[in-house]
C-alpha cells in the first residue's frame, strides 16, 4: 500500500471506530438512567452483592448475545443458541455424572457445540438455505436431542468441584461474569481489529458485493455459526455449573433474549451493523430490568411488557436517527 492509501485507510478506520462508538453510547445512556432510577427506588440495587448477582444471572444470556452479535452483523440469525446451550450442558453433565473427568466432559460439550454450529453453518452457506429456517430446525433438533439423551429428566451427580466454578470469585468478581467478559473482549477484538471482523461487516452489509470482491463468504459464514455453536456450548457449561444439575429444558427462550440484547445494543437485523459493547449494554439493560422488577416486586408479566417496549423503542430510535 502506498503512503496515501495507508493514511486514508487509517482515517477511515478511525472514523469508523468513532461512529461505532457513537452507536453504543445511546444504549449506555439508557442503562445509566435505569441504574440511577433503580438505585433511588431500592436501597439494595447498588450493593456489591446485588450487582454481582445480576452479572451472574445475565452471564449465560450475555455469552449467547455476543455469539448472536457476530451472526447478526454477518447478516444472519441463530435461533438455536438456547437449545444448543441445553444440549451441551446436559451432555457434559451426563459425562461427569458417569465419572468422566471435568476437562474431558467440558471438552466434549464444547466439541458438540462446535459440531452443531459447523453443521448449521454448512447448511446455510453451502446449502444456500436461509439461516432463520436452518437454525429454527436446529433449535428443535438440539432440544429434542437434549431430552433424548437425558430421558427428559434433570441430570444429577455433577461433581462439586465443577459446580464450584460458578460460585468462585476472582478479585471479588464472580467467575461467570469474568467468563462472559472474556468472551466479549475476544469477540470485540475479532470484530474491530481483525480482517475476519472486517469481512463479517462486509458480508453483512452486502453479501453479493463481498463475494464478488473475493471474500470467501461461504467459509466465513460457516465459521460464524461454528463460533456461535461453541459459545452456546460454553454458556451451557456455565449454566450447568451454576445450577449443579444438567437441565434439558434449560435456556428455553434465551435465544430471543440474546437477539433482543444485540438489537437494543444497536445491531441491525439487516446485517452489517452492531457492536459487542452495545450488545453487552443491551444484555445489561435486560438483566437490570428483571432484577429491578424482582427487587421492587413488580409483577413478572409487566417485566415482559417492559422488555418488549424497550426492544421496539430501541429499534425505532435507531431507524429514526438513520432517516435523518
Amino acid at each position: 500500500m502506498t503512503r496515501n492509501e495507508d493514511t486514508s485507510a487509517a482515517i477511515r478506520g478511525t472514523a469508523v471506530t468513532w461512529r461505532r462508538l457513537g452507536e453504543w453510547l445511546r444504549p449506555l445512556a439508557a442503562l445509566l438512567i435505569m441504574g440511577i432510577a433503580l438505585s433511588r427506588a431500592s436501597p439494595y440495587f447498588l450493593t456489591g452483592s446485588n450487582l454481582a448477582s445480576v452479572a451472574v444471572q445475565t452471564s449465560a444470556v450475555a455469552i449467547l448475545a455476543v455469539a448472536e452479535t457476530l451472526v447478526i452483523v454477518g447478516g444472519h440469525i441463530d435461533l438455536s443458541v438456547g437449545s444448543v446451550l441445553a444440549l451441551c450442558g446436559v451432555a457434559a453433565a451426563l459425562l461427569m455424572s458417569k465419572g468422566a473427568g471435568i476437562a474431558v466432559s467440558c471438552s466434549a460439550g464444547l466439541a458438540l457445540g462446535l459440531a452443531v454450529g459447523v453443521l448449521s453453518g454448512g447448511l446455510i452457506a453451502f446449502g444456500r438455505m436461509p439461516s432463520f429456517i436452518v437454525t429454527l430446525g436446529m433449535m428443535g433438533v438440539a432440544r429434542g436431542a437434549a431430552l433424548i439423551i437425558t430421558g427428559g429428566v434433570n441430570v444429577f451427580g455433577v461433581p462439586d468441584r465443577f459446580a464450584a466454578f460458578a460460585t468462585a470469585r476472582w478479585a471479588a468478581i464472580p467467575v461467570p461474569a469474568l467468563l462472559a467478559g472474556a468472551v466479549a473482549v475476544a469477540a470485540h477484538v475479532v470484530l474491530t481489529r481483525t480482517s475476519l471482523g472486517r469481512t463479517i461487516y462486509a458480508i453483512g452489509g452486502n453479501a453479493e458485493a463481498a463475494r464478488l470482491s473475493g471474500i470467501p463468504v461461504m467459509r466465513v459464514v460457516t465459521i460464524l455459526f461454528a463460533i456461535s455453536g461453541l459459545l452456546s456450548a460454553l454458556a451451557g457449561l456455565a449454566l450447568t455449573s451454576r445450577l449443579s444439575i444438567g437441565q434439558p429444558t434449560a435456556g428455553a427462550g434465551y435465544e430471543l433474549d440474546a437477539i433482543a440484547a444485540a438489537v437494543i445494543g444497536g445491531a441491525s437485523l439487516m446485517g452489517g451493523q452492531g457492536t459487542v459493547p452495545g450488545t453487552l449494554i443491551g444484555a445489561a439493560i435486560m438483566g437490570v430490568l428483571r432484577n429491578g422488577c424482582d427487587l421492587l416486586r413488580v409483577p413478572v408479566f409487566w417485566q415482559q411488557v417492559a422488555i418488549g417496549v424497550i426492544i421496539i423503542g430501541a429499534v425505532f430510535l435507531d431507524q429514526f436517527r438513520r432517516r435523518r
Binding site: L136, M138, G140
Partner: protein
C-alpha cells in the same frame, strides 16, 4: 417452539403408523388390549417419573397398554392440547392427564369425553367438576408447609414464596394454601412472591433477588421441584443456610441431598406413584362403565432429616 412441534408431529405420525399396524388390523374376536394414554404436565421432573412408574405398575396389573407422552415444558399448554388431540384421533380408550392449565384444557377434555374416551385427571385438574381427579390436596399441603415454616422460624419474621406457573391449578392452590396457612401466624409476614416458571435457573435468580431485597428474610417456601433446586442452590451460595429456613414440595434427588446437608429443613412430599397408579385404575373402571369417585386425595408426608430413614419414608421416596 416450532421446530419441536415438527419433530414431535413426525414422531407422533410414526407412532400412529406403528400403532395402527398393531392390534387394530386384527379382525378376530380376540379381546383387544385396552389402550390408555397418560399425559403429564411435563416429562422432565422426578415427580412425573414417579407418576409414570405408578401408571406402568397399574397398567401391568390390569393388562392394559400405557402410552406416556407429554410436553417437555410445563408451560407448553398448546403442546399438551395438541398431544391430546392426537390421542383422541388415535381413539385411545382412556386418557389419564395432568392439565398444564385448568381452563385451557377444559374444552379438549370435553371433546375427548364426547368421543367416548374416559378422562381421569391427576395432580392438576380442569375447570369441569364432573371430571374425576386423583391428586394431592394442594391447599392442605401448602397450609401444612406454612405451619411447618412458621414453626421453624419461631412464629415471627418475614418469609418469601416461590410458586411456579401462574394459572397452573397446582401452583395457584399452593400459593393460596400457603397464604391461608400463614393467617394462623400473625407474627409471620409474607414479604415477597416471585415465580420460578418451573425452571431451576429462574428459581435461583428470583431467590437471589428475594434475598437481596429482603435482607432479614427468615424463611422461604418453594412450591415445586425446580423452584426448590434453585432456591437451595442460591441459599448455599450465599451461605445463608442457617439464617434462612427452606421448606419445599417434592423430593427430587438434589432436594433430598439438600435436606441431608441442612439447606432444606422440610420436604412436603406428595405421592406421585399413587397418582399414576390410582389414575390408571380409575380409568379402567371408567372404561367398563363403573362408578369412579370424583376426588381421591393421595396425601402428603412431611419429610425431615429425622424421619428420612424410616421404612415408610424410604419406600415413598424409593419409587
Amino acid at each position: 417452539m416450532r421446530g419441536l412441534r415438527v419433530v414431535s408431529a413426525v414422531g407422533i405420525g410414526v407412532a400412529l403408523v406403528c400403532g395402527c399396524a398393531g392390534p387394530k388390523t386384527e379382525q378376530a374376536p380376540v379381546q383387544r388390549k385396552l389402550s390408555i394414554a397418560v399425559v403429564p404436565k411435563a416429562v422432565a421432573f422426578d415427580f412425573w417419573r414417579s407418576v409414570k412408574a405408578g401408571a406402568d405398575a397399574a397398567g401391568r396389573e390390569e393388562g392394559v397398554t400405557i402410552t406416556w407422552r407429554g410436553p417437555s415444558d410445563e408451560r407448553d399448554v398448546a403442546g399438551q392440547i395438541a398431544t391430546l388431540e392426537d390421542f383422541i384421533n388415535a381413539r385411545v380408550d382412556a386418557i389419564v392427564m395432568a392439565a398444564c392449565d385448568s381452563k385451557a384444557l377444559t374444552p379438549i377434555v370435553r371433546k375427548a369425553r364426547a368421543a367416548k374416551i374416559a378422562v381421569i385427571t391427576i395432580d392438576s385438574g380442569v375447570d369441569d367438576p364432573s371430571v374425576p381427579i386423583v391428586a394431592t390436596d394442594n391447599i392442605k399441603g401448602a397450609r401444612i408447609a406454612a405451619a411447618t415454616l412458621a414453626k421453624l422460624i419461631g412464629g415471627k419474621g418475614k418469609v418469601g414464596l416461590i410458586p411456579f406457573v401462574a394459572g397452573a391449578a397446582t401452583s395457584t392452590m399452593r400459593e393460596q394454601g400457603f397464604k391461608d396457612g400463614l393467617k394462623s401466624y400473625p407474627g409471620v409476614k409474607l414479604a415477597s412472591t416471585l415465580y420460578s416458571e418451573s425452571d431451576a435457573a429462574k428459581g435461583m435468580a428470583v431467590t437471589e433477588n428475594m434475598l437481596t431485597s429482603t435482607p432479614d428474610l427468615a424463611g422461604i417456601f418453594a412450591a415445586n421441584e425446580p423452584g426448590a433446586i434453585g432456591a437451595a442452590r442460591a441459599i448455599e451460595q450465599r451461605r445463608l443456610a442457617d439464617k434462612v429456613k427452606l421448606v419445599a414440595f417434592d423430593a427430587a434427588q438434589s432436594e433430598v441431598d439438600a435436606l441431608k446437608r441442612g439447606t432444606i429443613q422440610a420436604l412436603i412430599v406428595q405421592n406421585p406413584f399413587k397418582m399414576g397408579y390410582e389414575g390408571v385404575k380409575a380409568a379402567v373402571k371408567a372404561i367398563h362403565g363403573e362408578k369412579v369417585p370424583l376426588y381421591v386425595d393421595t396425601g402428603v408426608t412431611i419429610v425431615t432429616k429425622n424421619n428420612l430413614n424410616t421404612p415408610e419414608v424410604k419406600s415413598l421416596l424409593g419409587r
